[in-house]
Structure formats: C-alpha cells, structure tokens
C-alpha cells in the first residue's frame, strides 16, 4: 500500500497519541527510559515542594514559581511521551492499512465448506478461484493462477504464481484473476510477518538494538555526571554562602541531562521501522534496519535488477559472401516456433512475419541441452541456430569449413558482452546473431551513489565470465560472480564475512534460502517461496530488487538521527549553563553578573527560560526524529563536518538565541 497521506500528523493519530502520552506516565513504563525516569522523579519532587509551600514553607521561593517549574517538567514528560506515541501511532496506522486488506475474508476449504480466514490454522488447505480474495498467507500446492497483488504492492500488472517453483507464495488480501489454486496456510493466525511487525512497532516485543544500548549507556553516563555535578554543588554553594532552592537544583539537573535525545530516542527507532514499512518492506526486527546501514557488500541478481528481463537480438552479421537477406530469412525461420524471449526478439529485430515465407511441412527442432541448438527442417532445408561450439561442430562434421572471419565476429560479440547465436543452413555457416543485455536506465547512477556510500556492489549471473565482465563494467558494479550456482552466492557471502564485511542480498528462490540466512541483511521477495521468506530478515512486498538501496539509506538515517540529536542535545548544555549558573549565584556573588552573557532579566526568569526551552525543543524536533536526518553520500568525513556544523555548532548557538527570546517574554510576567 503506497501511503497516500504523507503529512506527519493526522487528526486521529494525534488524538490517540495524546491519550498515550498520559498512559505512558506510569512509572513502570517510564523506567525503560532511565533519562526520562529521572525527569519524572524531578517532577514529583517539584509537586511535593509546591504543596509544601502551600502549607507555609517560605524559604523555597514563591508558589507560582515552583508550580511553574512543576508544570514545565510535567510538560517535558508529556512531550517525550507524545513523541514516542505519535511514532507508534504512525507505524500502527501504516501496518493497519495493510492488515485491513486481509481481515475476515471467506476461505473455501477442500470439502466445500466456507470459513472465515481468522479461523484458518497453519497447515490448513483452502481453494481459490478466479475472483476470490486469498484469505491468508500461504503456499500454492497445486495449480497456477494470475494474481492481482496491487493491494499490497500498488503495482497493477497481474503476476503469475504457481506451485512447485520459486514463485509459489501468495499473500493474504491479494486477488486471484484467473484459474484455480490450492493453497496451504503457512502461518498461525496473528503470526504473519505483518503481525510481527505491528507488534514491534507497538512496543510489546520491541527490543533495544545494540547501537541503541550503547547510546543509552552514553546518555546514562552523562546523566550520572550531572547527578554528581548537582549533588556536589550543594556543599560548594554552602561554602560560598549562596543558598540554592530545591527548584533551582531540579531545574539545573533536568536541563543538563540529555532529555532531548532521551525523549526522542524510542521515537527515532520506531520511525526507522515505519519508514521501512512505507517503502513496503516488512522488517522482522529493528536490528535488521540498523544493520542495513552498515552494509559493506551488496549482492544483486543481474536479471531484473541490473538488466531488463532478458537478452535481446541487436544485430545480424552475415559470414563472408553470404547475402544478409539469406541470413535474416534463416534466422527468422529458425525462430518461428521459438517461444523464448530471445527468439521473439529475433523476429522483432528482423521485422518480418515468418508466415510470409510459406514453408511447407515444417518440422521444428526444439532446443535441447545436448545439441545446444534449435531450428527447423522443411523440404530439403535444415536450418539451425545455436551456440558457436554446437554449430561449428555441426558444420565441420559435414566436412564444411567454418569461416575464420565469422569466428572473429563471434569473439568480438562475446567480448562486448553480447551472446552470439550462430545460424547455419544445410550445415553451412551463414552468420551470427548478436544478443545483448539491456541495462536498466538509471542503474549506473544508483551504483555510483552506493559506491559513494562505501558499499561494494556484486552482480550475480549465470552468464560466462566474459559477458559478465562486460555487463559489470557497463552497469558500474564493482565485482561479479559469473556462471553462478546457488552455492557460489553462499561462498561469496562467507568469504566477505570472514574478511569482516557485512553483506546484504536479495533473493526469492528456495535455493536462495541458505544464502539469505547467511547474509547479514537478507531481503526476501514477497513473491518468493516460504523458505526464502523465513530465512531472510526482511520481506519486500514490491518484489523490487533495487529496494536494497533504499533499505541501506533508511538504516543510515536511523543511526544518523540518533547521533545528530545526541550531539545537539549535549551541545545545548553550554547555553543552559550560562543561563542557570549565574542565576544560582548572582544574589550571593554579585560579581558573577559578568557571567550572565545573555543578560537575562532575573535569576527566576533565567531558570524558567532554560526549563521552557528544554521542554519545547522536544516537540520542535519530533518532525526531524520521525522523518530522519537526510543521508548524503558525500564521504564520511565530509558528512561528519556537515553534521557537526549543523547539529553541533547549531546546538550551541540556537539555545542562546532561544533562551534569550523566551526570557524577554517571560520577564513580562514576572
């Protein structure tokens, strides 16, 4: 389902998120996030202090001031919860729209009975005929059908799915357009990939990824530093004979700990999975998305990814002394009954209808692995087309000479990445047809982008090494595996992994399953077999082999968003210090007024301004957290410079300006 509505906030989502913001205040769920948990503790303390003042305490400042701090801290908590809730709501909405397509579809069982899809269990068998909606995910065990998968992929062209092959999987919610298939259910209700993903988004089974854990340690460390700083400040201040109120201590502490990134951390993670889902990729874990950002090597199948479908005939080259027309005629006749795309492309190139030739009693010779040629016999004519070796053999056996000029041409075609098909008539070589792979438009740019990201692309093909090399060079991939057998992929992955690289691949067939499992990121096509889908850690609903590129960028964005917001959050502390520290001591040590470089109007308004900034920066950054920081393939050092400039330097400057502005407003009320 392509998302129609790209706006970040929709009305119903907002409502749901608002409710959740309050539900999440439960200390039990807050405890998962140590930083925000300390904010909650601070909020509780401020509530107690406010009440204490109502009961007559006079040393802690006015009730209005203390209560304002309490409200602001409470808002900080709500904003952080809201960030997480809105990210969840968006992910859920996306998943729900996918799920809606498959709810309660009737399923016809083998005995003719019709039951609801929700009652289907793993291993059940049901039948779908033309016009039926497929009830749930399954594997075709008998039959073949054209299926409209637009509900899932958004692609309107119907696809063919049949039992036995690599395209035996069907997805719940898609529609059978013709024929009849027998489907075996492959998942328990509620355990489909989509269900798993929804659970991930909702947080029930969301686990922190390794990078997230390491970052949490860093942030917890910073929080502890500020615990030490704030607690030791009490005796320091006493020594300097400056008294500091509880509100000031709490405000200092909360402003310094990295609440901005702490409040947005889980939203960033959820949004990463959500972006994957918007790209129509179902991930089985948050870790998989993160790993995608680290990929070093990308394995891509040639056919369908780098080249368009199949090879096409591009030229006829007659042998010396042969009339070109004779060659074309022979080529056309030999391809009359050839249903392969290559055969059809020969007719297209010749632009001649073979029926025009009026051949009597034709006998078609089908291609076989033994003869490696096909052709036609009629009257006294025997036309063959096939691999160079096969036709050369044929010609020489009959005592004829295979022209040297033709041999040269054949070599030339092969080195240019083409496939030569030699044509003979009555055991005499007539010439050669050149078949060429057509490289997808725009693919070179995509590989260039990958190279700039530091990712090595590897083309996997069944072609001979010569052809493979040519296409690899033309398309701009870094390496290729020619004459690839399924185990070659596996070996290549293992070799790269042994060198310490992370490998991603895409696959659909059952024989891809081991390699998909071995790869660090294995993306199975939704049309692929159940085995392939189980083995990979992502499923691409669009069956688009170039999707890996998008997935890598989503992974990088995820890490970058965390990194830049952490930097921003910590850089903010500089300005907050310059707001709060003078405010704490100015009364006792008037000389420190010189440190009040923002010239904030009063100690109370300085502290309030810092706390207000600390709270409202969270909702300001929610859109960035959800959309992610844009990845630019400009090299790691340049990217670091750029992000350090924007989020590091920006993180230092912005709060100075913002706190000053807030102070101007706040001072109107104090």
């Amino acid at each position: 389902m392509k998302s129609e509505n790209n706006s970040l906030f929709q009305k119903d989502m907002l409502k749901e998120a608002l409710v959740q913001s309050f539900v999440k205040l439960n200390p039990k769920s807050m405890f998962r996030n140590p930083i925000m948990f300390t904010v909650e503790l601070g909020t509780a303390v401020m509530l107690i202090v406010s009440v204490w003042i109502l009961f007559g305490e006079t040393n802690q400042g006015s009730f209005a001031y203390n209560f304002s701090i309490f409200i602001l801290l409470f808002l900080t908590l709500l904003f952080a919860n809201f960030a997480e809730a809105i990210a969840e709501a968006r992910g859920k909405a996306q998943a729900d729209s996918l799920r809606k397509t498959r709810e309660d579809t009737p399923a016809k069982l083998e005995n003719g009975e019709t039951i609801s899809s929700s009652l289907l269990k793993k291993g059940d068998i049901f039948i779908c005929e033309a016009g039926d909606i497929i009830a749930t995910d399954g594997e075709i065990i008998a039959g073949l059908a054209t299926i409209d998968e637009s509900a899932i992929t958004g692609e309107s062209a119907p696809v063919i799915r049949e039992s036995g092959g690599d395209k035996s999987s069907v997805t719940g919610g898609t529609k059978v357009l013709s024929d009849k298939i027998v489907v075996k259910v492959t998942t328990e209700p509620g355990e489909s990939f989509l269900d798993k993903m929804i659970a991930l988004v909702e947080g029930a089974s969301r686990q922190k990824t390794p990078n997230e854990i390491a970052l949490t340690i860093l942030l917890a460390g910073f929080t502890l530093v500020f615990v030490i700083v704030t607690v030791t400040l009490k005796p320091f201040a006493d020594f300097a004979q400056a008294s500091i109120t509880i509100a000031s201590f709490i405000a200092l502490f909360i402003c310094l700990i990295p609440t901005t990134i702490g409040g947005l951390l889980s939203a960033i993670g959820i949004a990463g999975m959500d972006r994957a889902l918007r790209a129509n990729v179902i991930t089985k874990s948050g870790k998989a998305v993160e790993t995608a950002g680290d990929i070093d090597v990308l394995l891509l199948d040639k056919t369908g990814t780098i080249t368009i479908g199949n090879r096409k005939a591009t030229h006829f080259y007659p042998a010396e002394g042969v009339d070109p027309k004779q060659l074309i005629r022979a080529a056309v006749l030999s391809s009359m009954s050839d249903e392969t795309p290559e055969g059809k492309s020969i007719l297209e190139l010749a632009e001649i209808n073979p029926l025009n030739f009026n051949v009597a009693n034709p006998k078609f010779i089908q291609f076989s692995a033994e003869t490696r040629s096909s052709g036609i016999d009629f009257e006294n004519t025997r036309i063959r087309k096939g691999s160079t070796d096969a036709i050369k053999n044929l010609v020489q056996k009959a005592g004829n000479v295979f022209p040297e000029g033709l041999m040269d041409k054949v070599h030339q075609i092969a080195t240019n990445g083409g496939t030569p098909l030699v044509v003979s008539e009555n055991e005499k070589a007539l010439g050669v047809i050149e078949l060429q792979d057509i490289i997808k438009p725009g693919i070179q740019e995509r590989f260039e982008r990958l190279r700039k990201m530091g990712i090595k692309t590897v083309m996997v093909t069944g072609d001979n090494p010569l052809t493979a090399r040519f296409i690899a060079e033309k398309a701009g991939v870094d390496d290729f595996i020619a004459e690839a057998k399924p185990e070659d992929k596996m070996n290549y992955i293992k070799k790269e992994q042994a060198d310490g690289r992370l490998v991603a691949m895409m696959g659909d067939g059952t024989n891809d399953a081991p390699a998909l499992a071995q790869a660090d990121v294995g993306v199975a096509m939704n049309s692929g077999t159940q085995a392939a889908k189980e083995a990979g850690n992502m499923v691409d609903l669009d069956n688009d082999p170039t999707k890996l590129i998008e997935i890598v960028e989503i992974g990088k964005q995820l890490l970058m968003t965390r990194g830049t917001l952490t930097t921003f959050s910590i850089a903010n502390d500089v300005a907050k210090y310059f707001a709060i520290i003078p405010a704490l001591f100015i009364t006792a040590i008037p000389a420190l007024q010189s440190l009040n470089i923002m010239n904030l109007s009063s100690p109370q308004s300085a502290i309030l301004s810092a706390v207000i900034f600390n709270a409202i920066i969270i909702p300001f950054l929610i859109p960035l957290a959800l959309k992610g920081v844009a990845y630019k393939p400009i090299g790691a050092s340049a990217l670091l410079r750029r992000n350090l400039f924007i989020y590091g330097l920006g993180g230092i400057v912005i709060p100075f300006v913002a706190i000053k502005l807030i102070d101007i407003v706040v001072s109107l009320f104090i």
Partner: protein
Amino acid sequence: MNTEIIGILAMFLGTLALAIPFGKYIAKVYGKEETLLDPIFNPIEKLCYKLSGINPNKEMNWKEHLVALLTINMIWFVLGMFFLMTQQWLPLNPDGNPNMSADLAFNTTISFVVNCNLQHYSGESGVSYFSQMWLMFLQFVSAGTGLAAAAILFRAFREKATDELGNFYEFLLKSCTRILLPLSLVIASILVFNGTPMTFEGKDQIISLQGDTVEVSTGPVASFVAIKHVGTNGGGFFGANGAHPFENPSYFSNMVEMFGQLIVPLAMIFAFGYFTRKRKFSWMIFGVMTLGFLLLTIPNVTMEMKGNPAISAMGIDNSLGATEGKEIRFGAAATGFWSIVTTVISTGSINSMHDSSMPLSGMNQLIAMMINAFYGGCGVGLLNFFIFIILAVFISGLMVGRTPEFMGKKVEAKEMKIAMIIALLHPFLILVGTALATAFPEQGAATLNNPGFHGFSEILYEYTSSAANNGSGFEGLGDNNLWWNISTGFILILGRFLPIIGPIAIAGLLASKKYIPTGNGTLKTDTGTFGIMVFAVIVIIAALSFFPALTLGPIAEYFSMK
C-alpha cells in the same frame, strides 16, 4: 619578539624536534627491533630475566597484563610502607630524620607508586637518603608502568585481530632501562654541571655575612630531579621542589628540566604512529593535544606577564609581570609556561607557587589536570586520550550513519560502558572529594590559609591534582593531617589504576574483535575533522563536569578582582 617568549618557544620546539626521532626509537624498543643501545642493555636485561625467572617471550592477553601490573605495584606499595615507617633505623640517614607516621607513609608511598608524587612532607626533614633513593626507584618503575601500559595499547592496534599483546615485564623493564634511564643520565649530568648537588653527605653549614650559622640540606639531588621530570613524577627532593636553587639553579637548568618532562609524553605520541604504522593518526593526536595545550598556555603566559591589575592600580610598577610566588631567575613567562606544562603532563613539579598565579591562570592549571589528556603523564596521557577517542568515535560514527568503529574494530556497548565509567571517574573523584572537604569544614576547610573563592580553589586543586595523579599543590593548605593523607591517598589509587585498567580492557576487547577493512563509508580517524570531534568531546565533557565548580573558585575570584 620578547626574549622571554623566545625562551618558551625554544623549549617547546626544541623538545618537539627531538621527540619525533625519540618516538621512533621507542617504537623500536617495544617492537624488539635493533637499536644502538642493544650491546649495553641486552646483557643487563638478560640478567634481570634470569634472576627473576621471567620469560620475556611469553605473550600475555590483556587480563594477564593487568594482573601482572597490579601485582607488582602492590609489592612496591608494601615495601614502600615498610621503608618509610622504619627509615630512622635504616642506613643512609645522616640528618637523623624520624620515621614517618602511618598515614603520611600511606599517602607518600601511594603517591610515588602511582606516579603522582603529591608530597605532604618536606624532603629536607621528612625522609632519609635511603628513602629518597627508594622513592627515586619508584619514580622509575611508576613511569615504567605507565609506559608499559601504553605499550599494551600499541600492540592492541598493530595486529589485525589478536589476543597476544606482548609481555608486561618485558615492556616494564625496557621502559626503565632503555627509555627512562638514558634520558635521566643525560639530564642528571647536565644538572650536576649546573650546580645541583649529588652527594651522600649530610647538611652543609655556612656562616652568613651577619655571622649566623645556616644549615643547608643537600643529598643525591641531581639523579632524583632528573627522573622526577623524565618520568613525569614531579616529586621534589626538597619541599620547594623546582623553585629550590639546588633543584633548579638557573634558567638553563629550567630549560633542561622542561625538556625532561615534555620529551617522553611527546615521543610516546609519535611512537604510537611508528609502532602501529599509522603516523598520520599520531599527528591527529598531536594536533588535538597541542591545540588544547596552547589554548591553556597562551592566556596563562599572557596573564602572568601582564601582572596583577590590583597591584598596578596601587601605582606599583608591574612590568616584570606577576612576581608573587615566582623565582626572579625564571621570570613570569617561563614560570607561567612551566605551570601549564607541569599540569597538562601530570608531572606536578613546580617552580613557583601556583597559589599565587592569577585567578584564571590558576583555572587553566586546574583545567589542564581536569582534562589530563593534553600530552598527559608517561604512557597514561595516551591512555586517557584513548578514552576520549572512543567516545568521539562512537558519537561521530552515529553521525555518519554507521556502527562506530575504531581502527577497524566495532565499538559496542561493552566498550562504551567501560569508557563511560572511566570518563565519569575523574569528575566523580574531584567533585566528591571537594564536596566532602567543604561539607566537613572541621576536617578540610579549616586547614585553609585563604577564605572564600581562593580557599575553594585550593581544595579543588588538591583533589584535582590527586585524581589526575599530578602531584602539584596549589599549596596554602595544611595538608599533612589524617584527613588529607587518607582521602587523597584513596583518590590517588582510584585515579591511577582505573584509568589504566579501563583503556587496557577496551584495547584488549577491541584487539580480539574481527578486523573490518576500511571503505568509503568508514569514518577515518586520522583526519582534522575527527580531531575537531575529539577536541569537542574533551572540552564539552570537561566544561559540563567542572563549570559550576570553577565558577565558585577562580571565575568568581577573577570577576571579584575586576
């Protein structure tokens, strides 16, 4: 240009010029390559190995290294306690100095074992010559311990993936014999020719012009002063340390001693590059450290040369700079320069009273120790810096969208945990120590000579110096009592060994990880960009941890003076 400034530049650039080839030599020593000194040291070292039954070719993993390091340090501690508490009865005590009290012996032994040399005693009356020589031995081995620990780090990043990180005893012995000893010999010889005493005779007597009899302490000073600088120890033979005319007779001896304390920390930076064959990385480290060093030094020297505005206001000629607490033979510039060198490098020897520095000069001295990684002590400076590198690698790795890696090794949760604990430890020790001393004034604050902000700076300085294993004192603090001896003693131990254990553990963990070849997406760590990142991490962590404390000390004092 001013002669005083030229003097400083000559000291720094001259040392730098020698540090690069010396770094190459150090890399050869740890890499078991041939050096010119082999014929002298090979037989000596062989004898040592034979006597102690150590096989120097037995490779250790990081845990075995740490066990060896901690065990041998423990032995030195026990021996040290014994010698200091019984020195009265031991030989070489011509002045008849008494045994040390248990708490002072505890503090003194620890401070020498941990390469800090915080001295709560006065050399003239507090220790015998035998004890001085024992302390000198500790100055060698404690510096050797730091260098050996750094050598482990070197080994961890030379191989692609390994558990074998060399032999600790070999590193330790070679650090002492081949690095510290030759340098110390040269410097001690120069000092002797400049008038520093080297004798086992007791106190000298002279009769002054007024006819009074004056007793002058002497002793084996030159050898002690040489290693106290080369080993970045800093403990003076006399109470007045580098300001004492026997320890530091002239401007020239001052230059030599300055060279002595800078040479090994600088050379170790380049040794890392030579050893791991990543010379550009060394230059990145050097660049960051030097930037920090200059940002502390330049304001300091400027302020000291300008003098105290309050004194100028009284109409007194201030053209010599702030001379209070300074030796006129060194001048304000060289003294200011020394005060930053000795604090960034964790030497802690002083040639002036830091207590008398201008407020913000004093702050810079404090900041130098709070960061403790701009050059830093023998070996340990690099270890401290390594922690900041790990933190910078982590944050910048995320910022470029890749799981952070350093020299081809992934930095993950476990390494982050250790790095964060070590980064936290330093502010923890300093702030908590200072907080306790201010919270219980009958113990800590009552011994202060100065009230108010300056008094606070004195306490803060004492704990910063202890945690940074620096050993210099702001002074003005009656520090030989039970409270200071015990509290700083414990801070010394924690501030020494945890920052060795942590980086070695991280290096060991990283060393055994799979090596990831670098690609276009890998963030290079030997670039200026990454250097800026490391610098930013260092500054931000220091600023966030210490800004409030500095505000109540030197900053408040500075603004009050205006």
